[in-house]
Amino acid sequence: MHPSASNRADASTSIPKDSTSVIDAAIARLGSLKGALLPILHDIHEQLGYVPPAAVARIAQGLNLSQAEVHGVISFYHDFRTSPPGRHVIKLCRAEACQAMGSKHLEAHLTAQLGIGMNDTTADGSVTVEPVYCLGNCALAPSLLIDGKVIGRVTKRRLDQLLDGCRNQGAGA
């Protein structure tokens, strides 16, 4: 159990995956690509769920860039988190087509149910909620992405089912 959101970062250090080796392996494997920085950051992000601050210096050295350049790229792109997310990540679409189908009500329902804002993680570390601007599922709006899976025609009821799934899986994990 994670008693509070502020403790989550500490809790995450117990994740068995050795982040340093993930970072170094990404640099070794992808460093020779043209424009290697984004592929490297994606690789680290996919494996760890975020780009640890310690990655900046290692990548900078590996690619012969300044740390400022690496930090600048990480902070520019919405996708790259610098702290660990919850066990499940929900990205709710905020773009126009989903708004036309009531996504603002869904957003209010989602944040109220979880008691957190967008770009936030629940205290128990089960769910992170982020905005996304279009999933290309605009004919079946409103849409969201949950752990990389697109869900269309989302209703409050469907959202509640998904949240229950997140919580139950979290308790079992």
């Binding site: 043209k34 919405h78 773009a95 004919a139």
Partner: protein, 511 residues
Amino acid sequence: MTTTIYVPRDSAALSVGADDVAALLAQHAKAQQLEVRIVRNGSHGMLWLEPLVEVATAQGRIAYGPVTPADLPALFAANFLQGGAHPLRLGKTKEIPYFAQQTRLTFARCGITDPLCTDDYVAHGGLAGLQKALLQKPAEIVAVLVQSGLRGRGGAGFPAGIKWRTVLGAPADQKYIACNADEGDSGTFSDRMLIEGDPYMLLEGMTIAGLAVGATEGYIYLRSEYPDARTVLSEAITRARAKGWLGNNVLGSGKQFEVFLRIGAGSYICGEETAMLESLEGKRGMVRPKPPLPAIAGLFGKPTVINNVMTLAAVPCILAQGGDHYASFGVGRSKGTLPFQLAGNIKHGGLVEVPLGITLRALLYDFGGGTITGRPIRAVQVGGPLGAYLPASKFDLPLDYEAFAAAGFMVGHGGIVVFDDSVDMQAMARYAMEFCAIESCGKCTPCRIGSTRGVEVIDKIARGHRREQNVQLLRDLCDTLANASLCAMGGLTPMPVLSALDYFPEDFTKN
């Protein structure tokens, strides 16, 4: 006898349960000892009918939809594997009016074939364009493209053949093809559907572009918000390499062309072509000033053709059937077809590929069937988040580049987002400014600062604070954004804002 059943793998279909339907279908068939072959095809684009399950019968493919797992027992009981009667039966797929009334050039194969099956691709006319291109000189390929009148489908509508000619004429040791698959506009999904439903066509189009301008490497910049498209495209690239469609010896010709896939990272501005180049080079997606044009100094400083997915995917058909064939569709200087996308509050949302020149009204009502809520359509945003909000009085405008530009609108990437009469246009104008503030790359001041000021001014109008003066201030601010921004992000954000003000002024006078 084995029956072939089609269950789409398109992410729109997956978003409403296509995987569950496919899995249960297999289980049911097995339990009843029926031999079935389940093909995971692309989508036909009738997205309100997804998951659209098709059964191959002697009469042709019979469609059922939308199919949920709960429908399957009744479908089997109705003998649907032989095309039996059932409330979800839609008849022959190709005779469904929504589909039958389209002109499918770019999406000719999408939904018909297994997207990753190379044999399917060739059996349905794939590679014919590339084979023709391999017999021609670069200048001849470019001439076919010029003749077709194809214009950039990403939004700007620049003649593709002219761009290619510039790159062909630019001397360099290395040139590139950069495919913009950063389909960030809300209400658009044609790039995604094509990539998930017919990926080899994009690779073929890029290869032809490479032959035409002398580029040996192509990069596809695909947005990270499309995980399913990424899976299909990376597998398609692997298989195309294995088949010798890409690589050092394209179709045994001795010519070289290789494609690399790069994934974006959630930035809308990276759909702007120069920001995309920066991102491909591993940098912040900051817009570059032009000149130099990317055609002269683009990716890694080399001459680069940058085209949208739809533009490159139109190329194989143009080469295979001739530039004049493509140019025989459309109106005026808007040649060919455009895959429009009906989205938002629309009853029959989906992809409609028709010749340019169709009216909005025909798309919204004849194809779209009005709103899904059953309320009147009040506003329609055409061309993504930087496109205008059109009122019903503009629905008879023909959708061609010139007619739309003359009216102060843009066709853009062909996305059409429908709102019913519950929409608050002041809130939509505010959102346009908010979106610009969130997604601005920050390089130029009007966009970076002006967007935030825009949100504040609209908030003041909403509060009723010095309303008339603030509306004027908002118009002034839009003038600055439109005329002083470095790229289309700041330059076009005024379009949704001003169209909301101009056509829905009543929404700006209530608190």
